[in-house]
């Protein structure tokens, strides 16, 4: 037999064709049962996809896993940590292969993941007491159309962090900074005294982070993202005032000019350096600001719920997350066992420095509150009212559009109104398509 170029090509082609035969376009098999049970098998490996940003640290997780294995020696937990910015795409890329049994899902993704059947409906597994004993904001991250598509990880919102040292040097009283107006006045005083060149840092990079800040400010201005029919309407007066506030604060130098490039971690670093007085960020920021190894302001920082806006309201952006079981999980029962453990009070309460617990009772338990009293006090106020980002299937596309338009306004290449009009028009087109 002659081994010609043609023979090699034909053989390779035939092999490829054989691999193709029987596959669908995406290579995905026909959907199997959606509740996914392995008949109660509680052993094997549970691969879990987590993030390293706010919340529990990798060390926290190592402790939790050790504790879990004391009572569940037959289940091996294999965690993978990625940056928040990479989390969604990693879940999507791994979905077909079923790489992860549990994925950490942001509050904005349940519609997308549930509609695309990437995660399991776990309603039947959820104990009845969760609905009444867990915080509403945390539950929101795990629900879609009245069904549980995950388990609440922790509640979360952005709190307001302030440097008490800089404030007292500028003669600003801690109790006075209850509204954004007062914060801007205080920031100006700090700037004028030369204590800080740019007293406020924001996470306004082209990322989900800027949407979280925008959402929180939009709430303070009395706005919402969508109307009752589900159409985007944040180009209304409240939306324009919100974006104008952001633009003005940047223009006046009150806000750090690096803000349009900052993610949450950059805001933490800015606050830790002591050169910035104010910042919005997730709960675990307080832990990082008081970390004497990394922070120059340990012990000098205060924390409160987000300041009120002209509407008199102060809804925090709902930044809760949930554990979902991947549709491709080969070990969903063991995965649920892990989820039950990591959402339990016994595990969550001791880690209150990193994340607030899911459980309403924890907030009035003095033994838990004393672990992180300042943040508990702030969260009690902050969790009372929240603003949700649009709960839509193609949220990411809408968010990406808004991110770019907010930046266009921040850069001065569009007016606030033009930017928001464009965002709403393109966003509504995306929702329709």
């Amino acid at each position: 037999m002659n081994l010609s170029r043609r023979t090699v090509l034909l053989t390779g082609g035939a092999l490829a064709a054989a691999a193709v035969a029987g596959c669908s376009v995406t290579g995905a098999p026909a959907p199997a049962a959606t509740t996914g049970s392995t008949g109660g098998k509680l052993s094997g490996t549970v691969n879990i996809l987590l993030m390293k940003q706010a919340g529990w640290t990798e060390d926290d997780w190592a402790g939790v896993i050790t504790k879990f294995n004391q009572t569940n020696p037959d289940i091996t937990i294999n965690p993978t940590f990625v940056a928040y910015e990479a989390l969604h795409d990693k879940i999507v890329a791994a979905a077909a292969a079923g790489t992860f049994d549990i994925v950490l899902m942001d509050v904005i993704w349940p519609p997308e993941f549930a509609e695309k059947k990437m995660i399991l409906d776990v309603t039947d597994r959820v104990p009845a007491n969760w609905k009444t004993e867990m915080l509403g904001g945390a539950l929101q991250a795990a629900e879609y159309k009245g069904r549980f598509v995950g388990a609440p990880q922790v509640p979360s919102t952005k709190l307001f962090f302030y440097n008490k040292d800089l404030m007292s040097k500028a003669g600003v009283d801690e109790s006075s900074i209850d509204s954004w107006d007062a914060v801007m006045t205080a920031a100006k005083a700090i700037k004028d005294k030369g204590l800080s060149k740019h007293p406020i840092a924001w996470s306004w990079a082209q990322a989900e982070a800027v949407i979280c800040d925008f959402a929180q400010l939009l709430g303070a201005y009395g706005g919402t993202f969508t109307d009752d029919a589900g159409k985007l309407n944040f180009n209304n007066d409240a939306g324009q005032q919100t974006l104008q506030f952001m633009v003005d604060s940047l223009k006046s130098g009150i806000s750090h000019p690096g803000s349009p490039t900052f993610l949450e971690d950059d805001v933490i670093k800015a606050l830790q350096s002591g050169e910035v007085a104010f910042g919005l960020n997730w709960e675990s920021t307080f832990r990082d600001l008081n970390d004497t190894k990394a922070s120059k302001v340990a012990g000098k920082m205060g924390v409160s719920a987000t300041p009120t806006g002209p509407s008199g309201k102060r809804p925090g952006v709902n930044g809760a997350m949930a554990y979902a079981i991947s549709a491709g999980s080969k070990n969903p029962d063991a995965a649920w066992k892990v989820i039950e453990f990591v959402t339990s009070r016994e595990v969550q309460d001791p880690l209150a420095k990193s994340s607030m617990p899911n459980w309403i009772a924890s907030f009035s338990d003095p033994n838990v509150v004393k672990i992180n009293p300042e943040v508990f006090a702030a969260c009690k106020v902050a969790y009372a009212d929240s603003i949700l980002r649009p709960q839509v299937v193609n949220y990411n596309k809408v968010s990406a559009i808004l991110q770019v338009e907010i930046q266009n306004a921040l850069l001065g290449s569009k007016t606030a109104k033009a930017a928001l009009d464009d965002a709403v028009n393109q966003g509504n087109d995306a929702l329709a398509g």
Binding site: A30, E112, T261, Q403, Q407
Partner: protein, 309 residues
């Protein structure tokens, strides 16, 4: 690749020839696996997906849309804008790399002490993984603690720290600079290889004729370097056109999409938006453009003296 064994009538196939054929298959197996399994098969899947309205990686039966995704792609202003940015990235980074690369190559070709040391040291940026390079330059450009701000501030050039990556056009240029820092050594080495192949007699003759430095460069160096320059230009064009990782790590397409090149936009469309159909169509567009560039590249390399083929 063709292994034409001596043609023997099949009936009389000797045992030796059979063993040889089997051995040939064995040797070819890894290449077949790589070419068909890792390159052609995914390419085939991408073409297939690009013809369907795939909105989820788990969708077993997406709707067939024919060339609908290609039409949608070509009528999207965002796609054209990102192609424009990619073109800008490619052209500007090529100009920087070839200019600096040529200067470096001339320096490294000059007789000097410790030339081996300089030649070795210059490889270091190229040896860095792109993601490390990106993280490093992101640190250098940082608005709060970046080295660039510190240097310029201490020299009195700036009076306030500058958020270098906060404006689209500036961010693009600075990402190009970071990329050029890493890839210029590669260009320099290609050109150095070209320089060393120029016979020294030509320079000696030119010197005897009284030609100055510039004239020698114009009359000898540059014309004889043309093959090396064209190869490196095409090679780098292909690389620059598919730039992704440095963008992903430094700016994630921001600010205001200022650095959203076509590869990044493709990734975002496919994986963030889960519009796999259009994402695949965009990937095919990149493949097409790069295939054309590669054909030019292969032609050049075959006609060049540096060719090993």
């Amino acid at each position: 690749m063709t292994t034409r064994t001596i043609r023997t009538p099949r009936r009389h196939t000797s045992a030796t020839s059979q063993v040889q054929t089997r051995f040939a298959w064995l040797l070819l197996a890894p290449a077949i696996l790589v070419v068909f399994g890792v390159i052609l098969y995914p390419l085939y899947r991408t073409v297939l997906v690009s013809l369907f309205d795939v909105r989820s990686a788990l969708d077993p039966s997406p709707a067939f849309v024919g060339l609908g995704n290609y039409v949608a792609m070509l009528s999207s202003p965002s796609v054209w804008a990102s192609l424009g940015r990619t073109l800008y990235f490619t052209v500007v980074s090529l100009i920087i790399e070839v200019t600096l690369g040529l200067c470096l190559a001339l320096l490294l070709n000059a007789p000097m002490r410790f030339r081996w040391l300089f030649r070795t040291a210059i490889v270091i940026p190229w040896a860095l993984p792109t993601i490390v390079n990106a993280a490093m330059w992101k640190g250098i450009y940082n608005a709060q603690y970046g080295a660039l701000n510190a240097v310029l501030y201490q020299l009195g050039v700036i009076h306030d720290y500058v958020p270098w990556l906060s404006e689209p056009w500036r961010a693009m240029n600075l990402v190009i600079l970071a990329d050029a820092w890493k890839t210029t050594p590669l260009v320099a080495f290609f050109l150095l290889a070209g320089l060393t192949s120029i016979p020294s007699e030509l320079y000696e003759a030119a010197e005897v004729d009284g030609l100055g430095w510039w004239k020698r460069f114009r009359a000898i160096t540059l014309p004889l370097l043309v093959p090396a320059i064209s190869i490196v230009v095409v090679l780098r064009t292909v690389e620059a056109f598919k730039v992704f990782d440095i963008i992903y790590a430094m700016t994630r397409g921001g600010p205001a999409n200022g650095t959203a090149v076509i590869s990044y936009y493709t990734y975002q469309t496919a994986f963030s938006d889960q519009s796999f159909g259009i994402g695949s169509a965009m990937a095919m567009l990149i493949v097409l453009i790069i295939a054309i560039l590669c054909m030019i590249y292969l032609r050049l390399i075959r006609s060049s003296e540096m060719s090993l083929l």
